[in-house]
């Protein structure tokens, strides 16, 4: 009886999370971007629900890639990783012990980032080197140089982002560890049930700001979208995805927005996503608030190059370290 109750809780949470995440891109596009840009904008269901469904009904082509089946499998792996992340946050799964800890979450987020590197190195689109043009005519400059694809530039950038771009999220996650004194999600949630949410302490407030910036970097949202700037790499690692694999890319993005927001709710407010708990409404509110704030910030900023990216990440990381220090005072 107890087991079926738990399983229903887990499944129900997953289903509700998925449905809400389908609406998030539409809300971002219609209510925020379109209002700021003084135009009408698409209906809410179009970018998030109707676009993936439409892509399911398109012809499956073989992508231009040295390993097409591996390339096509990568978005499915991404979706599964985000699903596993959400499952680990649900309280009924905390019996998993070390898998339901901060270390496992950081590990899965790392794998999510590495996906971009694999996708970029396997994609060879017609819009880059394969565009037919008689470049190597007589009098051309440097005719013997190797030619790289635009997606390989994206791979280099993804590598840099893995090296330093994920600092803010990880430091913010460790702020909650520093305040509550434990790596396990059960202890973090229990501490906040007893002593109130961390968000209302100095360390927690600073950590929340750092988490928000890290959230934007992880989702490659403007201004941190150097991985897929339209002006040079067009779409980056996703260039060769078509039909149902593109649907998976779309679905993963909305789902990741929701899951990271519920990670924030778990770590900084002490409310784990659980449909059987009436506090689930707060998780939903946080999941709607974060994309809205992110959309407002992204509508008013250009894309950063490394000249602005490095100082921003450095500054935000220092803020995060200050937050950890404040937790011990």
């Amino acid at each position: 009886m107890n087991i079926t109750y738990s399983i229903l809780g887990v499944l129900g949470t997953l289903v509700v999370a998925f449905i809400v995440s389908l609406l998030l891109p539409g809300i971002e596009r219609k209510f925020i971007h379109a209002r700021i840009q003084q135009r009408v904008g698409p209906p809410i269901t179009s970018p998030g629900i109707m676009a993936p469904i439409k892509f399911f009904f398109k012809q499956t082509i073989s992508p231009n890639s040295p390993m097409p089946r591996l390339y096509n499998a990568l978005p499915i792996v991404s979706l599964i990783i985000v699903l596993v992340l959400l499952i680990l946050l649900i309280p009924q799964m905390y019996f998993l012990g070390a898998l339901a800890s901060v270390i496992a979450i950081i590990g899965f987020l790392k794998v999510e980032e590495i996906m971009y590197m694999f996708m970029g190195s396997l994609s060879k689109s017609v819009l880059s080197v394969r565009m037919p043009f008689p470049d190597l005519a007589r009098g051309a400059k440097h005719p013997e140089t190797t030619r790289t694809f635009l997606e390989e530039l994206s791979t280099l950038r993804a590598f840099r982002l893995i090296a330093f771009g994920s600092f803010p999220v990880y430091i913010a996650i460790f702020v909650s560890v520093a305040v509550t004194g434990s790596l396990y999600l059960t202890d973090i949630v229990a501490y906040q049930q007893a002593n109130g949410p961390i968000l209302f302490t100095v360390a927690g407030a600073l950590g929340a700001v750092v988490f928000f910036i890290g959230y934007m970097i992880l989702l490659n949202e403007y201004p941190f979208a150097i991985l897929k700037t339209k002006a040079d790499v067009i779409e980056g690692p996703y260039l060769e995805y078509a039909a149902k694999y593109r649907s998976y890319v779309y679905l993963t993005r909305g789902f990741l927005m929701f899951v990271l927001a519920s990670l924030f709710a778990t770590l900084f407010l002490g409310i784990a996503p659980n449909i059987l708990n009436p506090n689930f409404i707060i998780t939903l509110i946080v999941a709607l608030l974060f994309p809205v704030l992110m959309a407002v910030m992204s509508a008013f900023s250009p894309i950063f190059t490394y000249k602005q990216f490095y100082p921003t990440v450095a500054g935000v990381s220092i803020l995060g370290v200050l937050a950890i220090v404040a937790a011990f005072l």
Binding site: H33, I36, Q37, Q38, R39, L127, S128, V129, M131, F133, D135, A140, K141, H142, T145, T146, R147, T148, L150, L153, L156, R157, Y222, P223, A225, I226, T229, K230, A231, D232, I234, A299, F300, S301, P302, I303, F304, T305, Y306, K307, Q308
Partner: protein, 375 residues
């Protein structure tokens, strides 16, 4: 080879950005030679847009040839047809009535407005700032409506003809009033936008110090127009054109030669154009707008230079039996290509794209057949 001489820089790879690309409004080909995402050398190939305009114009009747020059470019269309009519009028010796000259100048300044707004919008888009791009396109719509009202079509209006201006483009009270309200509206929105643009720290940090062209390099590479004036050289052909004599305007220059100077250059030229249009409306003389009392003659090769939104435009042709012979056209974007190629060296690839766009390229104007003579 050359790489041994410049032993400091090593070229690792080449990134070709091709015929079809989101940052390219027209097809052109850029090959960037990079070392760890920093551009060390660049090569811009034009010629993808070549349609053989000079070849088509050989032997056309001169009125038809004038209308055809408008189709060279959709952004600076009025400039081409005005210059072509000036060549014909100079060759045959036609006197253009004053009212027609004022109307032609109003159209040219309106075109300068729409071209500068388009440049700023495209620059914002390459920066990644969609919101600014949309705001600028919205302001630009007012100018397009005014152009459509005077000429009949939003793009390619065909206002000038040999001897004056088409009868449809007569400015009566109603149209003058609409131009006045339009100018007030644009001035208010443009100053508001400029204040917001300059005060935005994220955009300013992205464009300061990027794509620098020094004054010496700009003069050596024969840049022209606002690209040259943004490096500090005060050369504007409008001060020497006799059509612009009755008007008062300032020649804007900026120091620095980077993307910020280029953008601010166009932003500051907008109030000057609005000023000229207001002066023209206020002082509009009465009289006819077309001079039909002239006779076709044969003429040797005649040249004409005018100042268009992007620089100095050159047209020339000879007349034989009412038909055009030996037409040669040189647009300002062709002269700016050297500066474009030089500006993107030394920057990150995303900034290199911005450096190419900063010189306001119009590759459809550029593709003529040229003969390079080594001096």
């Amino acid at each position: 080879m050359e790489d041994n001489k410049k032993n400091r820089t090593v070229i690792e790879a080449e990134v070709p950005m091709g015929t079809v690309h989101p940052a390219a409004l027209e097809p052109y080909r850029v090959r960037l030679f990079v070392e760890d995402e920093i551009v060390r050398d660049a090569e811009i190939t034009v010629g993808l847009n070549h349609r053989g305009i000079e070849r088509i114009m050989e032997g056309l009747p001169v009125e038809k040839a004038n209308s055809l020059t408008e189709k060279i470019c959709g952004i600076c269309s009025n400039s081409h047809i005005w210059n072509s009519c000036l060549v014909g009028e100079k060759a045959i010796g036609i006197e253009v009535p004053e009212r027609a000259q004022y109307i032609r100048i109003i159209m040219e300044e309106l075109e300068r407005l729409h071209s500068h707004f388009l440049y700023l919008a495209h620059g914002s888009e390459v920066l990644g700032h969609e919101t600014f791009a949309m705001r600028l396109f919205y302001i630009r719509e007012t100018v397009m409506d005014l152009l459509g009202m005077i000429g009949g079509n939003r793009v390619q209006y065909g206002v000038s003809i040999l001897g004056g201006v088409r009868p449809r483009c007569e400015l009566d009270e109603n149209r003058i009033q609409q131009i006045k309200t339009g100018m007030d509206l644009i001035e208010e929105k443009a100053t508001d936008f400029a204040a917001r643009f300059v005060a935005d720290p994220l955009v300013m940090s992205r464009i300061t110090g990027v794509g620098v062209i020094s004054q010496k390099d700009a003069l050596r590479l024969a840049a022209t127009g606002p690209t040259l004036r943004a490096t500090g050289v005060a050369k504007d052909l409008r001060t020497e054109m006799k059509e612009y004599e009755p008007f008062d305007f300032n020649v804007i220059t900026q120091e620095g030669g980077d993307v910020k100077s280029q953008l601010l250059m166009r932003v500051m030229e907008i109030p000057e154009s609005i000023n000229i249009i207001r002066q023209a409306i206020r002082d509009l003389p009465d009289g006819p707008i077309t001079n039909r009392s002239w006779e076709m003659q044969d003429a040797p090769l005649t040249k004409s230079y005018i100042e268009v939104p992007r620089g100095t435009l050159y047209h020339s042709y000879a007349l034989e039996d009412g038909r055009v012979r030996h037409c040669v056209i040189r647009t300002p974007s062709m002269a700016n290509i050297g500066a474009m190629q030089h500006a993107c060296i030394g920057h990150h690839i995303t900034d290199a794209q911005l450096s190419i766009v900063q010189c306001d390229p119009c590759f459809t104007c550029t593709d003529r057949a040229i003969q390079i003579i080594k001096i």
